[in-house]
Homo-oligomer: 296 residues x 2
């Protein structure tokens, strides 16, 4: 197993503990590539049959994966479900409790926020992150509206809707958390019509991909106080350029794509790597194989 | 029942639903006083036997209560336990996830925070707020260290310590939440020695009373990066004066005593009022009678 571009000790240890051996690229059957940018991946020797990617979202990798059909790529879906869900809850509470405004304040002024207690929270995309978030929301007595492609039953949700029923969500939810993969279907799924249909006190949280939201429409909605606010860990464009109206907007809170901890330092990624290397050694199916046709 | 200084419709309705009648002060057997400042309380006619206060903390009312020994005072302890615990969790997540810094940022820069997942969280004071917070922390798999006066067993806590054992808390906890009543014993319980004993990555959250913390020692600890930060809903002095070093401190997040929603608008207070008026009518013991000797 080759780990690149650099091998952190924790991951080399994970390889060893799974019965693998860290080698050079030339001698490797498998590659763990920690740089999230596809253009950094070196040309793969023929014997490489598997590449483990560091991130959960693979939209930027699809072209590369399609061009290397003989190689199995695995993503880190569900690896970061817990930390990302925790970040989503933090952003949601920070929004509802008006902590962004508080952080910028320089004088004592009471700004009472709302509460999640018993609130209707839409979780759009109930994969690993969504499921973990629903778990975190349980003691808040939140009524979760879970949206999945099929509308399947989601544990802990009060209401389960399919992608086709999604327009029912906007007026019904007190707050909305986006945790869906970036696909052609979810691209700019939040636009002017959706924002117009949301409740006035709603906070929109995005921990998925910035492209799920039409940023221009969002800025207009915030300027017009159409919704209470937006707390975003991902943006479009990303990085958000200096001088963008979302920076320091009184109704926006931006974190710089930090919900997912860096793979190189994450115990969650190390545990997944150990599991997948053991499976690779045993010839078993790997966790989170990427299907480039499904786009995730 | 007289409601003053003004009677919001929701509370007048709560009185009626409990079988009471809203009257003038002169005709009242009981008074609901919504202004948290003791000096606003008018002289009470002799027939008044009970005063319901709007807040959970009664430290500012003790003198008044002692001077009116024939009148039963009830506080709103445990009424706001859930919303205050939610605010505490919001402040804790905002600290750990570095959302205060994010809110002030005007350029894209990755600042990875920590996680509550499996963290040791000290909850100092495990009354209503503490118990509600411990419940909210359960799905985060946090190891809760609960500190109570007696060291009694607290549901959901991994470790229960008494007030006498509190020095064991500072080095053991990843983060510390203060939810203890303000008494002579808890006054400035967090000083230089306690801050020096805390972990470097620790966040200190205070949703109790500002006087539990030696503010000057805290500012020095934050300046010296002795601890990771402080997220405070209460301060000493309070209100925090303009120009105070805690405003916009990179390692501080201040909210202006808003964890407790205003009694006049709170469904939690209306529900408590309904219960206490029913008890008063039936001659039963009231909830949260203040014992001025115990100071809460």
């Amino acid at each position: 197993v080759h780990i690149g571009p650099e091998a952190p000790p924790a991951l080399a240890a994970a390889v060893a503990r799974a019965g693998g051996q860290v080698t050079t690229l030339g001698a490797a059957d498998a590659v763990v590539w920690l740089d999230p940018r596809p253009r950094t991946l070196p040309a793969l020797p023929e014997r490489v049959r598997w590449v483990q990617l560091p991130g959960a979202g693979v939209d930027r990798w699809l072209e590369t994966i399609r061009s290397l059909r003989g190689v199995t790529f695995t993503s880190a879906t569900r690896v970061y479900a817990r930390p990302v869900a925790e970040h989503a809850l933090g952003l949601l509470l920070a929004g509802v409790r008006r902590l962004g405004e508080a952080a910028r304040a320089t004088t004592w002024e009471r700004r009472y926020g709302g509460s999640l207690d018993g609130a209707a929270i839409a979780v759009v995309g109930a994969g690993g992150i969504g499921a973990a978030l629903i778990e975190l929301l349980q003691p808040h007595r939140a009524k979760v509206i879970a949206v999945t492609r099929s509308g399947r039953t989601v544990a802990g949700a009060a209401l389960c809707l399919s992608a086709e029923q999604i327009d029912e969500v906007w007026p019904a939810a007190d707050h909305i958390v986006l945790a869906a993969p970036s696909t052609a279907t979810t691209h700019r799924m939040i636009g002017r019509a959706q924002l117009a249909a949301m409740r006035e006190h709603a906070w929109l949280v995005n921990v998925a991909r910035g492209t799920l939201v039409d940023t221009e429409a969002l800025v207009d909605a915030l300027d017009a106080v159409r919704i209470a606010g937006a707390a975003l860990d991902v943006t479009d464009p990303e990085p958000l350029p200096d001088g963008h109206p979302l920076w320091n907007h009184p109704r926006a809170l931006i974190t710089a794509h930090v919900a997912t901890p860096p793979a190189a330092a994450s115990p969650y990624f190390a545990a997944r790597l150990r599991e997948n290397i053991a499976r690779f050694g045993a010839g078993e199916p790997l966790l989170s194989e990427v299907d480039p046709d499904a786009e995730y």
